[in-house]
Symmetry: C2
Subunit: 205 residues, 2 copies
């Protein structure tokens, strides 16, 4: 049995304790013979998986009334992984979701590191800096690199901290954000935990 979280770029697999990934452009899911319990935000891959009987979509076991109709299944699975806290999932977008006593309390979407970097660069080449994650967040900037870094990082930092809850960090850029949330729980397997919890509830495993 495999678990698989499919994003826009990659298939992320969990096989027992081992994580590995495959490029979404080139991987052929029909080559897998085991049962695969998956979530998928990639529309193209969704179509590929439909006819494959050993690929089981976990989104069917979600109680969507707890969330909202257009909410990404990856965000939902992260919420299913914890009981109390703020989840920061730093990928192509940074999604921030609040869970209190097992209930989803709402969340928001912020651009990911790469997308926001390109956004500043598209405004002006003069803003084409990489972000400074070592920035002093308590000091108003007096140089251009810190001025965009503060705009991106400090504003997110203040909002996330304002909820005064445990912070759970996941996603491909989690290591960057761990610098500004040093006491957070960094967990690259958070979505898999949520998927397992859903499978337990649904009596699949």
């Amino acid at each position: 049995m495999l678990l698989c979280d499919i994003g826009n770029s990659n298939y992320h697999f969990l096989k027992k304790d081992e994580i590995f990934k495959k490029d979404a452009k080139f991987f052929n899911p029909s080559t897998v013979e085991e049962d695969v319990y998956y979530i998928c935000v990639n529309q193209h891959v969704k179509e590929l998986l439909k006819p494959l009987k050993n690929w089981i979509d976990l989104s069917q076991y979600i109680d969507i009334k707890k969330y909202y109709e257009t909410m990404g299944i990856d965000r939902i699975m992260a919420c299913e992984a914890i009981r109390d806290g703020v989840i920061v999932d730093a990928g192509s977008a940074v999604t921030v979701d609040i869970v209190k006593e097992g209930r989803f309390e709402g969340g928001f979407i912020y651009p990911g590191v790469r997308a926001m970097g390109e956004c500043y660069k598209n405004i002006s080449d003069a803003l084409g800096y990489s972000f400074n994650f070592e920035l002093d967040l308590d000091k108003m900037p007096k140089n251009s690199r810190d001025a965009i870094s503060y705009g991106y990082i400090k504003l997110l930092h203040s909002e996330v901290k304002s909820h005064k809850m445990d912070i759970y960090l996941t996603g491909g850029d989690a290591a960057w954000f761990a610098k500004i949330f040093p006491t957070s729980h960094v967990d690259e397997r958070l979505l898999f935990k949520g998927m397992k919890n859903i499978m337990k509830k649904a009596d699949i495993c």
Copy 2:
């Protein structure tokens, strides 16, 4: 005598009490016969103006030690316009600058409404919403449009309010931000005020 603030898209003129603008792509500055005191962030236009003796660059009268080398001259002029407050200049970028007792205390740069909208859309077509400036800022969102609106608007709102100072709003998108800063001073002539203050200090007028 004219004042002129030249951005990437337009020449903004002040003639006595009247404001008008000209497209930066098509306007020929050598057709103006009066003296023009200007600031300019547009590299191409800067070159056009160099040989024109009646176009006087006000940036030469700035005490740059009060600011920093790569800071936009438009931000500097806005700072010269006030004695105490937070300036929010909402254009292609949103610049936020703090002035205390006439001293620049630092500032940051955030994407403008259009740039941030494109940023979200580039991450995913599913995020291609216009921002909801009527958003309830005290409530965590439970729908996609509000999730990106909160990410863009609430985070900026919290930071600006955190300084507990008077807010001065200017720039082409000031009207949008006036919805979330209802007690702010909206002043489309803020930069011209700064330019006039600099001219007074330099004994030009």
